[in-house]
């Protein structure tokens, strides 16, 4: 009897083994990109360390509280998250159409299992990058202030959740793009420019609406959770103060609440994943 006859692991067990095998295969595939991103994360951290040290050398006092010192390091985290999620996630769906790898894969594994394996492996790598960065920040904070604020753990939790939501957004973009480059460019344009413009428009039109529908708004809780502000908005004015005129004031939302952020990010992630998966399935049929 051939080996083939012995293999009858069909059903739920096969589902799990296929997902597991896809995870390990994808980890091998994305290993190089991951190492590159690890260097980028470390480079950015190093840059902040050098800048802080240079400031100190020039006589600028370091922040009094460790939380403020940490806040400086987290300023670029949103950008790093966009870079790493798009590097690891932009090809996740589109590559099967761009490279025509689908013909090779789909007779062997269903799209849902393939996608699940890819998501788990690539998100895991993204999460490792975030945790790595927080370990670096925690280490330098401990070195400087001889303490690590407990809220750093909360911040890391929010960063991991935010990374997942942005990752699902990139997956969604991958499902509608023609190639990986388009998915990356459109995602970055939307996340870094379009959403910020909408946020500014909302502020200047004085609607007072909390921009919970903008994905990038949730990034704010990563830093804000270190020391949650109350109220969660601030009033800002622009231009040179004129004693003869009332300065126009604008309401700017600093951060979503913890419950709002949790709900918003979970809802967005689920919706984006469902949409991406449906598009993936539909697109495959159309392509064939």
């Amino acid at each position: 009897m051939s080996d083939f006859k012995e293999k009858e692991k069909i059903g739920l067990k096969r589902h799990f083994t296929q997902i597991y095998d896809t995870i390990t295969f994808e980890l091998k595939r994305t290993w190089k990109s991951f190492i590159m991103l690890l260097i980028v994360y470390f480079g950015i951290f190093l840059l902040f360390v050098i800048l802080n040290e240079l400031e100190e050398v020039q006589g600028v006092e370091p922040p009094e509280k460790a939380i403020d010192y940490i806040g400086g390091y987290l300023g670029m985290l949103g950008l790093l998250i966009i870079i790493s999620t798009s590097t690891l996630g932009a090809a996740i769906i589109v590559e099967d159409f761009q490279k025509q790898t689908g013909n090779l894969l789909f007779p062997k594994i269903s799209k849902s299992r393939l996608l699940m394996g890819r998501i788990v492996s690539r998100y895991a790598l993204n999460a490792i990058l975030i945790i790595f960065y927080y370990i670096l920040v925690a280490s330098i904070t401990n070195y400087k202030y001889e303490e690590i604020p407990n809220t750093l753990r909360d911040s890391m939790g929010w960063a991991l959740l935010y990374t997942f939501m942005i990752f699902t957004f990139i997956i969604f973009m991958s499902s509608i793009s023609k190639n990986k480059a388009t998915a990356i460019i459109i995602s970055i344009l939307l996340l870094m420019i379009a959403f910020n413009i909408i946020d500014s428009i909302l502020m200047f039109t004085k609607t007072g609406i909390e921009p919970w529908f903008l994905l990038t708004y949730y990034e704010n809780i990563i830093t804000a959770s270190l020391d949650m502000p109350d109220p969660r908005y601030e009033t800002v004015s622009f231009g040179r103060p004129d004693p003869n005129e009332d300065q126009p004031e604008f309401k700017r939302w600093i951060t979503p609440s913890a419950s709002g952020a949790l709900t918003g990010m979970i809802i967005f992630s689920v919706l984006l994943l469902i949409a991406a998966f449906l598009l993936y399935k539909m697109r495959q049929s159309k392509n064939e």
Binding site: K7, T17, K28, T101, N103, L104
Partner: protein, 351 residues
């Protein structure tokens, strides 16, 4: 478990149909594939070959009809519920595959074997075995992006058989390959047959199919227009080609020579319509060609007549590829005419 029988049908297509809007890509195809045979699936571009294969792989859902696949001795209808189980018995190479360039054949084939449930402890050994079969052992740890097109195609075929299925479905496995690589692939297909595999092979390269296929299915505009052994199709078509080479002929006397050959050969061809038939000389290959009815007796009569008339015949053959080409052209031409007539009749009735 049932005992494996030589006449077992491993795949059965019943009224298989795929419609895209009002266009029928595949229409009412019936096909039986028996254990251990190589079926050549021929058709012009866009005839419905890939669509049929994609339906077999469950990449496309049929609009109508059924696909039955034998697994563990039992013929079962392919459905969404049992597709994993049934498709484990088939290895697919659908169109030209693209691989992840940064991965090695070792990594890729191991992944595919595991996906199809091949026993984990034996995967490494199995991958080494299949890579060795194609003489690619030296390449198994090199990145696929460094491979030529022919080598990638070979990896595609290995990916189809790495989980040791009984049935192998190959869609245009030799397209775009150089003659050396094409021969390698043909030899490999024959090797698979010797190993007891059943092969369903689509191609529009008639020579490749004629060299390996036991039976040939011809599809045109979505309809199966012929399905039989080459010999039976030859008898049905009553037309084949004889090629022969004559030693020491003079180019200056070629018209006279052709006239003489026509006089001797044409009455022996067995063709009803002799008016269009004549002996022709191929300037490039320096070979004389003439149509005949494909019956061995007539072939022998022509052969003997040439010797009796003192021609120094160097080579005398009935190339299978030419036979298949003629069959293919005749059948597809007839089918196109029938389809056109159907359309005309429909339009007349409509008016």
């Amino acid at each position: 478990m049932e005992k494996n029988n030589k006449d077992d049908i491993l795949i059965k297509l019943k009224g298989l149909t795929k419609r895209f809007g009002s266009f029928y890509a595949v229409k009412n195809v019936d096909l039986d594939i028996k254990r251990g045979e190589i079926i050549g699936f021929l058709g012009p571009n866009g005839a419905g070959k890939s669509t049929t294969m994609k339906m077999m792989a469950y990449l496309l859902k049929p609009t109508a009809g059924e696909i039955w696949i034998r697994q563990n001795g039992k013929l079962e209808q392919l459905t969404v519920r049992n597709k994993d189980y049934l498709l484990d018995n088939i290895g697919f190479l659908i169109e030209t595959p693209t691989f992840y360039g940064d991965m090695t054949p070792n990594q890729t084939l191991s992944y595919f074997a595991k996906l199809k449930g091949y026993p984990r402890k034996n995967v490494k050994k199995r991958v080494s075995e299949v890579v060795e079969m194609f003489g690619m052992s030296d390449w198994k740890s090199k990145k696929i992006k460094t491979f030529s097109k022919g080598m990638r195609q070979k990896i595609g075929i290995l990916a189809a058989i790495v989980h040791d299925p009984e049935i192998v479905v190959l869609d245009e496995p030799t397209t775009g390959l150089d003659p050396r690589a094409r021969k390698d692939v043909r030899d490999f297909i024959l090797k698979l047959k010797q190993m007891g595999k059943t092969i369903f092979l689509s191609s529009h390269l008639l020579y490749d199919v004629s060299e390996v296929a036991d039976r040939v299915a011809i599809i045109n505009q979505g309809k199966l227009i012929a399905f039989d052994t080459l010999e039976n199709l030859e008898l049905k078509s009553l037309k084949s080609v004889i090629n022969f080479e004559i030693y020491n002929y003079s180019n200056q006397n070629l018209p006279n020579l052709l006239e003489r050959l026509n006089k001797i050969i044409l009455p022996l061809t067995g063709l009803k319509d002799k008016s269009k038939n004549k002996v022709e000389f191929n300037e490039n290959s320096k070979v004389f060609e003439v149509d005949f009815n494909g019956v061995p007796e007539n072939q022998l009569k022509i052969h003997n007549a040439l010797f009796e008339n003192k021609f120094d015949v160097l080579e005398f053959s009935v190339p299978k590829a030419n036979l298949l080409e003629n069959l293919f052209m005749d059948l597809t031409d007839n089918s196109n005419k029938e389809i056109q007539n159907e359309k005309d009749n429909y339009n007349i009735e409509k008016d």
